[in-house]
């Protein structure tokens, strides 16, 4: 089960935050196919947001083909976004945790670390794409989801 956290000051609509947090949980393997999402009542009792907001987020997730609304039963995950390598116990993740610890020990701040990772990713992708940064796939483009499914 996931627990949603709504950032009220971010200016990002609450339903978008729920969609993004669900996708992140799917990507990281914290949610798997067959898992049930919390009911609208459970979400609003924990976050004090409007229940229609939760239902809207779940409808968006359904349209993206990630969940199924089963009448009277709840909302269930029908598709995973997890890739091999992204789970909690994967070697890639362990290496990254190890590397992060070394970066921290070397005195790097969170922003430094994120910048390093972004730079390494950019350099890698640019190499592969023949130095065409305009090609870079945007993270939050909804049209991107299909692409990820094919990759998975």
């Amino acid at each position: 089960m996931v627990e949603y956290r709504i950032d009220r000051g971010s200016g990002v609509p609450a339903y978008v935050q729920i969609v993004e947090q669900t996708e992140r949980a799917l990507r990281m393997g914290m949610l798997k196919v067959g898992d049930k999402l919390p009911t609208a009542k459970e979400v609003v009792a924990a976050t004090a947001i409007n229940p229609n907001t939760v239902l809207r987020a779940y409808r968006d997730l359904e349209q993206a083909g990630l969940v199924e609304l089963r009448r009277g039963l709840g909302t269930f995950i029908t598709r995973s976004l997890a890739r091999p390598g992204a789970e909690d116990d994967s070697p890639l993740r362990a290496e990254l945790a190890d590397w992060t610890a070394r970066a921290r020990a070397a005195g790097l701040e969170r922003a430094d670390i994120l910048a390093l990772v972004s730079a390494a990713l950019d350099a890698h992708d640019d190499d592969r794409r023949g130095h065409n940064p305009g090609d870079r796939v945007q993270q939050h483009d909804p049209g991107d989801r299909k692409h990820e499914e094919e990759d998975a």
Binding site: A14, A45, I49, N50, N52, V54
Partner: protein
Amino acid sequence: MTVPDALRATGLGFRYRAKGGWILRDCEFAVPTGCITALVGRNGAGKSTLLQLAGGLLRAGAGELRVLDAVPGTPEARARVALLTQDKPLYPRFTVADTLTMGEKLNTTWDRTGAERTVREGGIAPSARVGELSPGQRTRVALALALGKRPELLLLDEPMADLDPVARGEIMATLMAEAAERGTTIVLSSHVLPELEQTCDWVLLLRDGRIELSEEAGELRDSHALLTGHRDQAGNLAEPHTVVRRRDSGRQTTALIRQHGPLRGDWHVERPRLEDVLVGYLQAGETQRTAGAGRTEAAA
């Protein structure tokens, strides 16, 4: 078949005395069922009066107000509508359990389990006396009383006033859970604008006794823009857009507009939060000199 509106006003007006000033005037609006509505306005704008009219405590002086298609105060309306007024009328010497028993005796339908659960979720002992409870706990007991009758329409007059942020969040969560579970329509008046952003999907804004806005919260936010730019081009704004509020200082103009079509000119555009739009409308019509003071109060 159409679902009746939760609230529908036609030419609604109210004054306390036949020759007194109008508290509400020419109000014309409809609030759909299934929404959580924020009733917003400065002090004295007529919010409490409107809620008391809807709850049947006052009678319209002109025009008409209908609640779920019924006339407020009639047995039909009373069975389906609950009003929690600002003073939260409770008997201080009653215990919490007594208070709930009173609710059971006074109402034709009564959900004892639900009412007890609402009280229990606040960690309130049934044997505690109402007079000894904290403000947050008293609000919760009053809310349990209002929710116990299973209203289709719940009217709340500043339910969060005088509560600390934790208690506010808890009460709001209880309200939202009720709406999620039973589809209860909620209308609540509030000065705490930031809290309305994620909770309300309809906005009713009163200014000087008149309805200024009655519309879906998301559309309201999306149709407005906050502009900053050179004062020379401010004249271009009025057509085709609606300037809600404009402030000039030196060569700079900042404006909240309701946007119709593309913008002309060189403006820095920001998407407003719901709060920005509401404050803009609350301040509109005031002189620039008093606007600063209005902002502090509306945000408080």
